[in-house]
């Protein structure tokens, strides 16, 4: 248990360190910007007096260190400033865009895990040259191409799946509990809404999942192949376990380290993918918000999003570490 506590303490301090570093980076970069946030807020015809007032209100007339501490103090309290574009608190904005991304990313992660582990297991034994090539090809498709192809085929070609948004127009969002439509719909027994939400999730989640799933499948496959040569696999076979049991009970867990590491790495890349995918599928999540914020040069928003994504990245990596410790008891010291 002390091991667990130490792990948690380490992670939390890492979280703070990363957030502090990110905050500093974001702050420094923000100061580099030639843009004039006050003008952006007040428009082209604003008077100098009102601009000066606004600058004061935003601490922009203070020294850089004061600004930084102010920025940090606010960030600590979860105050990420005011979006220049939506005029709302960035926290409010993120709060309203985050659930969609969480739902999408979770679905994609589950899909990637299921696909990756499934394909990895299936191809682990055979020579699987074709499968291996297929995996390699899948891992090489840029998401902007894949998303578009899926859209053309399943939406505009076959009309099987919707192409845009989280819900069809006319379908009301389920009462908000978790803000994840699929979960909320299920909790309230609204099966129609649930199915509609699921259909909207499929294409973007698949687009996001393909590359990581191929990566996971590849790593899993090769570490399974190494594991299957281990002595204890021979022991398991000597115990007359079926090949299936040997693979699932003995090999899988022992081959989990590399794929988990790979999954952690893919999470980082997923973040970039979310932006592309949400753009193509009009999925109202943080990715879209980010793109929009970049386009409107909405620095507080960009900063806020970076902090939130950075934090979630740390948390996810901690989860990966936990999963690795679960998979291998020798790591739990």
């Amino acid at each position: 248990m002390t091991g667990m506590r130490r792990f948690a303490a380490e992670r939390v301090s890492a979280l703070f360190a990363v957030l502090f570093a990110l905050t500093a980076v974001v702050f420094v970069l923000e100061r580099q910007v030639p843009a004039n946030p006050v003008r952006a807020l007040l428009g082209t015809s604003a008077s100098n007096a009102s601009i000066a007032a606004k600058r004061h209100q935003l601490y922009l007339d203070r020294s850089v260190t004061t600004q930084f501490w102010h920025f940090l103090a606010r960030a600590v309290h979860g105050d990420l400033g005011l979006s220049l574009h939506t005029r709302r608190a960035v926290r409010t904005d993120i709060g309203s865009f985050l659930p969609a991304t969480v739902e999408l990313a979770l679905t994609a992660a589950v899909l990637a895990a299921v696909l990756g582990v499934g394909v990895g297991l299936v191809t682990a034994r055979g020579k699987g040259r074709t499968t291996r090539l297929g995996l390699l090809a899948a891992a090489s498709v840029p998401q902007f191409l894949l998303g578009l192809v899926l859209l053309l085929v399943f939406y505009s070609g076959l009309h099987w799946l919707p192409g845009q948004g989280r819900l069809s127009s006319g379908v009301a969002a389920p009462p908000a509990l978790t803000h994840l439509y699929t979960v909320d719909a299920l909790l309230h027994g609204q099966l129609g809404t649930w199915w509609d939400a699921v259909k909207h999730l499929l294409l973007p989640a698949l687009t996001l999942a393909i590359v990581p799933s191929a990566a996971i499948a590849r790593t899993l496959r090769s570490s399974l192949q190494t594991t299957m040569r281990a002595d204890y696999i021979r022991t398991a076979r000597a115990k007359a376990l079926s090949e299936r049991k040997v693979l699932l009970r003995h090999a899988l867990r022992n081959s989990a380290q590399a794929p988990l590491t790979m999954a952690g790495l893919q999470v980082g890349l997923l973040l970039a993918g979310v932006v592309v995918v949400e753009d193509i599928f009009g999925f109202p999540g943080l990715g879209l918000y980010t793109v929009r914020s970049i386009q409107t040069f909405d620095l507080p928003a960009v900063a806020g999003v970076s902090l939130v994504l950075g934090a979630s990245y740390v948390v996810i990596n901690a989860l990966v570490d936990l999963a690795q410790a679960w998979a291998d008891p020798r790591l739990r010291v």
């Binding site: 570093a21 090539l133 840029p142 902007f144 191409l145 090769s222 192949q225 890349l269 973040l271 970039a272």
Partner: protein, 288 residues
């Protein structure tokens, strides 16, 4: 009595011969390597290979379909897509190599120092590494580009900043593993000095994993970098970059699909070749 029992299912024989290792690299992986060689040639000689300027229009005019006056067609401004794609491959390829290369160099340095010096230095270096590792690369790229303006160096810097820690970790782990092996002690007893010890007896042990990771990473980077470029986080126009070219081409997807598809397919081919070759390199080095 062999210490390591050779009867491992499918394991290599007691003495791996060079012939056998080469046999392990499949046709396709070889094809991937060949393709990579070709890509590298393209990257280096793009200026010579490109039939036209990448910025000035050709005679065929805007939106010429492939084969009609330009081998792969022209884009919205009448520029030759073949030339632009060749240059795009060059820039993507060189960028990916640069990031991987910088990752390997910095990572190896940090990892080796951390592993060999140990103690406080190790802890400090690894904390820093973890910190960088925990920064989300794409986000950093976004912030950097928004703040500093879109330019390839900014993007590369942001990506490279989060890329090297992987190598530092790998190298450190490998070097530590090698350090624990008796041959290091043997070399120490032979009077080998610190620097020579690291260079001759430690680092070569980390090379295979670094090479494998690096070669598999190139594919990853091709996708990541062209994804960022697609989002407008790469070099500004009219620099031919595959992601940005695709993004631009998508505007004309229905009427003039080749404008988007040619660079997008180039990304795919590039990533596929890199992944194939990466797998090949892994097969090659893992079996040693």
């Amino acid at each position: 009595m062999a210490v390591a029992d050779p009867v491992l299912l499918g394991a290599t024989a007691v003495r791996p011969s060079r012939v056998r290792t080469r046999a392990r690299m499949g046709m396709w992986e070889l094809a991937g390597l060949v393709m990579l060689g070709l890509v590298s040639v393209i990257a280096i000689f793009a200026p010579l290979l490109a039939p036209h300027s990448t910025t000035q229009p050709v005679a065929a005019g805007a939106f010429a379909s492939p084969g009609h006056g330009a081998l792969l067609g022209t884009d919205d401004l009448g520029r030759d897509l073949l030339s632009r794609t060749l240059y795009g491959i060059r820039s993507t390829w060189l960028s990916a190599l640069a990031v991987v290369g910088s990752g390997i160099v910095i990572g190896t340095l940090v990892g080796t120092v951390a592993a060999t010096v140990g103690g406080v230095v190790d802890m400090l270096l690894m904390r820093i590494t973890d910190l960088f590792l925990a920064l989300p690369g794409p986000v950093l790229a976004i912030v950097a580009v928004v703040a500093l303006g879109p330019s390839l160096p900014h993007t590369l810097l942001a990506v490279a900043a989060v890329w090297w820690p992987w190598y530092a970790r790998i190298v450190r782990a490998e070097v530590r593993a090698v350090l624990a092996r008796p041959h290091v002690d043997a070399a120490r007893l032979a009077g080998t000095r610190r620097f020579a010890l690291a260079r001759r007896h430690l680092l070569p042990g980390a090379v295979p994993s670094v090479l494998v990771t690096g070669s598999l990473d190139v594919g990853n980077l091709v996708l990541t970098l062209s994804g960022l470029s697609f989002l407008g986080l790469g070099a500004p126009p009219p620099t031919p970059e595959l992601g940005a070219m695709t993004a631009n081409g998508l505007t004309y997807l229905f009427g003039q699909p080749w404008v988007a598809l040619v660079p997008a397919c180039a990304v795919f081919v590039l990533a596929f070749a890199a992944n194939l070759a990466g797998d090949g390199v892994r097969d090659l080095l893992d079996s040693v």
